[in-house]
């Protein structure tokens, strides 16, 4: 199975177990530790030794999940599982994340307006905005929501003008 597909199925299973999201998030963050991954993926260490490490490090409600991840040698997927799990949790709570790239930082009022507009447009109760400064945009904004980019930057406008002039 492809890594992305596997990560999605692990995240979905984890979500359906209805565990405490905070505990799951902490677990997945801990699982991104390179030294821990080395131990859990070590070919010489036997299963029992690995399980005892897991039982010492993680809360008991996620033991079985981490043990399965470890025996399937999929610990390196933890960052992808984490983002999929986060998306599923937000979706269940009718919330969403959006990313805004800007050249000059919008005022708190503008940010609040953006949040309201997005919540209304997508029918969400709350929108979490991630603000990233990107000088290459020249001016304007670029908004990324899941897989869709809403581009009103000067860079995007120039690109579109270039394509229109070159007949692409």
């Amino acid at each position: 199975m492809k890594e992305e597909t596997a990560a999605y199925y692990f995240a979905k299973a984890l979500f359906e177990l209805e565990l405490n999201p905070e505990v799951v998030k902490d677990t997945l963050i801990l699982l991104q530790n390179k030294e821990l991954i080395q131990i859990l993926d070590h070919p010489v260490m036997d299963e029992e030794q690995k399980h005892s490490v897991i039982e010492k490090l993680f809360p008991n409600e996620v033991w079985s999940f981490v043990k399965v991840l470890c025996s399937e040698r999929r610990t390196e997927l933890s960052d992808r599982i984490s983002s999929e799990y986060d998306r599923l949790v937000l979706c269940a709570k009718n919330m969403m994340r959006a990313q805004i790239r800007y050249v000059s930082l919008p005022t708190p009022e503008e940010i609040e307006n953006m949040k309201k507009m997005l919540a209304q447009k997508f029918g969400k109760t709350e929108v979490f905005l991630e603000l990233i400064q990107d000088e290459s945009l020249i001016g304007g904004y670029e908004m990324v929501i899941e897989n869709t980019v809403y581009d009103s930057s000067i860079k995007g406008t120039l690109n579109r003008l270039k394509n229109a002039l070159s007949g692409r």
Partner: protein, 502 residues
Amino acid sequence: MSTFSPSDIISVLKSEINDYENIISVKETGSVISISDGIAKIYGLDQAMYGELVEFETGVRGIVQSLELKTIGCVLLGSDYGLSEGSKVFRTGKRAGVPVSDQLLGRVVDALGSPIDGKGPIQTDAYFPIEAEAAGVCERKSVTVPLQTGILAIDAMFPIGRGQRELIIGDRQTGKTSIAIDTIINQRGQDVICIYVAIGQKASTVAKIVSTLEKSHAMEYTIVLSSTASDLAPLQYIAPYSGTAMAEFFMQQGRDVLIVYDDLSKHAVAYRTMSLLLERSPGREAYPGDVFYLHSRLLERSCRLDDAHGGGSITALPIIETLAGDVSAYIPTNVISITDGQIFLESELFFAGVRPAVNVGLSVSRVGGAAQTKAMKKVAGSLRIDLAQFREMEIFTQFSSDLDRSTRDLLTKGYSLVELLKQPLSKPLPLHEEVVLLCLANAGIFQEVPVKEIKKYRSDLMEYIQIHHRDLLDELDQKKEISDDLKNKIIQAALDFGGLED
């Protein structure tokens, strides 16, 4: 070449900029997870369609070829330079296609329809998708109009009709491409547009073909679509579909098109490369499971439309290269079963000097008979059986010296027919000449001539008939029929020419 003044360019730019509407663009994006050997795995683009064109941040385009739960597999149609893990990919919402117009005639283009002959840009009228549905049952008409190849052996025994799919199959160096090129050359003045699609060929071979076509003034009505061996496998894969899209553009205008796919063995290999890189399960000979569909959907687009749909046609001449004459290999059997007949070329015949090296026993044309002119049908009637009997008898009698008269006659006739069917490269024969030669062969005229002298006798005789009996040839050209009276006149003309008594 036309020139533009700077003020013209500035005014065009000004009007373009004034008319330009600045709207917020909404694009679906994904990001590259991995990229290698012209294949990119992309995360995101959940809504992408199979076969959709996507654009990478470097401007390179690709075609979606596999859809999975969280990722898509995409084949690149250009260089992967500048692309890396995390590079952005955008949906275009369009299916892959090629620009089409009448201006493509006489040009050499690549698999995406861009000119590669250095003769400047091509003004295009429309954009045709490379993958299109074949015409339905009710839109088609049966094949009734002949497509003359100008090759006596083929026009007489394995006639090809407009809208037919006739496979040319044989080992390497048996004259497969030559038959296709001669057929293209013979379409001069026949109101047929020709498209030659080179798949995985050497660039030098394509250059040679282009120069042959130019010398024969055949480029005026021909498009050469080249995807050479150095092109990426995805480009080789789409080349025949692009060629067919161009052919469909002309067919929809009610015109007749001849398309040559040279060759589909290399096309299947390119598709196998692409499929294995896309991690599709390999099947027989490591080809993916849908390799039959790969060619069936391509060749099914060749057809003859009925009058309500313009009456245009696409005649396909796919070429398949066999290994050691093995027609029972995977790809040859597939394409044989898809096409309406095959012309099988044999190395042994080729090296014995029989050119075109058509194997009469294994070649067949399933629908062309209906498209043959009455004159040709009448004179070519028993030719195939005569040759088949001759081949059988030739093998049977090769160790025997004491033969009865009827066997000797059969062999003499066979040798003279084989000699008669030999034809040099790029010298297609007009219909009237083919009919006259076969008519005289049936009358046994050539049996009286020593085999070594048949070639000279034939050309002298034809020259004589053209000078002294032009009316007979004109009658054949007009009526496309041969009455007993006309037949007798032709035989009499040959007898008048003399040379037989010597």
